[in-house]
Every structure is written in structure tokens, then in C-alpha cells.
Assembly symmetry: C2
Homo-oligomer: 179 residues x 2
């Protein structure tokens, strides 16, 4: 950030009066420009014991497999965001079930929130951001080619919970950048 | 938003190529300025069967009672945000327990995420944004003077769950502005 979105004045990084963190503050009009974490909402779509995954057509992790997920938009609920991302990335309609995993990723200022969902029909295909979309049985999950640790973790939780038939919320913090 | 934070050019509201929602786009350099929902993280602090509430010293809902909660900051986890808000607003240190309620509020583009927590000691006081902070027994909760529906709902869930001793995650969407 270099300029104020209100008045086009130059901004500088400083702690506003009464605050305790540095913010972008306009040298001209004094407007304070806060920056906050973003929510990534997604879905683990199920159909007859299989899981729908998408192979990414975009960076980062081009060519790797992931669940449908993306930035939540203003004006929608978490569940709406998860369903919309599933429609956009996997061209699939889902009934959103429970919130299943909440992962704080502070080093990129994101919170990753994944729902369980059920496909309304076995109809899907690659959206603009996917190369390929397919249903995987448990033994077919491409564990070595998953795009993100959050996806690996959610799928591991899912198959563990499948044995007990209970699907409680899982929360974890990714405290440091992997690798 | 009137000006581009990258180049100080004039921005206009339009749908960028490949997108399907209007964004603020710079007429000069083409930068796209996304706006996303904010997370409000908070805590329901417990001490020996009582709940700590804060009376707001700021608008909106000046003078009404609430739980410690506020905007999550970049670089922190959800639980860190909830503990920080409790320290700032109630001058109290808490051990964060489980994530307890997740409320989507699409008409203000916020997601309200509340943890259960336990005071480390019965030490607290009004931070800058509170007029008064005190512990309430169940029969003392000022139901008519709570600041927000999300607080009323979380406290109702809490006392219902207290009977069963189980505290599962509660999720709800506030689809329309109250009143």
C-alpha cells in the first residue's frame, strides 16, 4: 500500500493514537487502512462413499489435487461460500453439511474453514481453475499429490472419523511455514 | 474506495475479466482491490461457574453488555485473537478452550467466532473499550441489556449445554438485519 484509497495521499506505516499495532495511515487525511485475515471456505464433497477432488489449473500448486475452496466474498455466509466454490471449481452442486475443520494459518493471515458436503447428483466437471475433477475411493486418494497440508489433514481426519461414524469439528493452528 | 492504493489512480466498480463479481479496479494501472469478510474473534470467559462480561464504552451499543471480542489481526491464530481481545477489553488472562460458536453475518460481511475460555485467575478490569467488567452467575445475566444477538445466542447455548455437560460447536447464519 502506497496511497490512501480515500484521498490519494501518501500513506505511512505507524501506530495510530490509541492503537498498539502499526497500520497504514494517510499522511494527508489521517484515514487508517486496516488489513485483516481472510477466510478460505471450502467443502469436502461426498458421493456414495467417494470424495470429489479437483486438480489445480492455477498456481500455487498447479497440477496438484485439492478440495473446492476459495476466498469467502462479502455478503455471503460461510456455507454459501463453500457451496459457491464447489460450483465454480468442480461444477458440482452440494448440500452443505456441518463445519468440519477450522485451521488458522497465521503466517499467511488466513483461516481455512472446510465443511462436509454431499453432491446432489454425480455431476461435475472442471471449472476455470481446475484441470480435472474426479471422485476418489479411499484407497485411491493421491496422498503424495495433494496441494496443501490443510487438505491432507482434513482427509486424514475424515477417514479416521469414518470408522467411528462421528464427525466432530477439528481445529488446528499451522504455526510455521512448512518445509 | 476512490483511489488506487498502488498508484493513486481513480478506481471504478466493474467486473474484471475472468471474474463474476464487481470489484474496485484501477482505471490507471488495472490493480484489482478485493474486499473480503472480516472475522470477529471472541471468548466466553468462565470462572467458578460464572461468566465474565464487559459493558461497552464504545459505539455501537454503548453501555450494553458483551463478551470480549473484536477484529482478528493479521499474523495471529483465532485462539490468539480471542485471548488478546479478552486481555484488551477485560484485562483478563484466559486459557482458550474449544471453538464454541461460528455465526455468519452476511449483511455486515462478518463471521463471529467465539471460544470457550477459562480465566487463569479472578483478575480483570475495564480495558479502554469497556466501562465495567464483572462476573455473572447464571441468574444474574443481564439478558435485556446484552449488546448483540450473537452474544445472547452464545449465552443461551452455553446454559443449555451446561445441563448436558457437552459443548459441541454451534453454527448459525444471521440472514437478515434484526429489527
Amino acid at each position: 500500500m502506497k496511497f490512501c484509497s480515500q484521498c490519494a495521499g501518501v500513506v505511512s506505516r505507524r501506530v495510530p493514537p490509541g492503537d498498539n499495532l502499526p497500520r497504514w495511515v494517510c499522511d494527508n487525511c489521517g484515514a487508517i487502512h486496516y488489513e485483516n485475515p481472510k477466510i478460505v471456505a471450502g467443502c469436502l464433497p461426498r458421493w456414495e462413499g467417494r470424495i470429489l477432488l479437483c486438480r489445480r489449473a492455477i498456481e500455487p500448486r498447479y497440477g496438484k489435487w485439492t478440495v473446492p475452496a476459495g476466498f469467502m466474498e462479502n455478503g455471503e455466509t460461510l456455507a454459501e461460500a463453500a457451496a459457491r466454490e464447489t460450483l465454480e471449481e468442480a461444477m458440482a452442486r452440494v448440500q452443505i453439511d456441518r463445519l468440519y475443520s477450522v485451521i488458522s494459518i497465521p503466517y499467511i493471515s488466513q483461516v481455512y474453514m472446510l465443511f462436509l458436503g454431499d453432491l446432489l447428483a454425480p455431476e461435475f466437471g472442471p471449472g476455470d481453475e481446475s484441470l480435472e475433477v474426479r471422485l476418489f475411493k479411499q484407497g485411491e486418494i493421491p496422498w503424495e499429490d495433494l496441494a496443501f497440508p490443510s487438505v491432507t489433514m482434513a482427509l486424514r481426519w475424515y477417514y479416521e472419523d469414518l470408522d467411528s461414524g462421528e464427525f466432530p469439528l477439528h481445529t488446528v493452528d499451522f504455526e510455521r511455514r512448512p518445509g
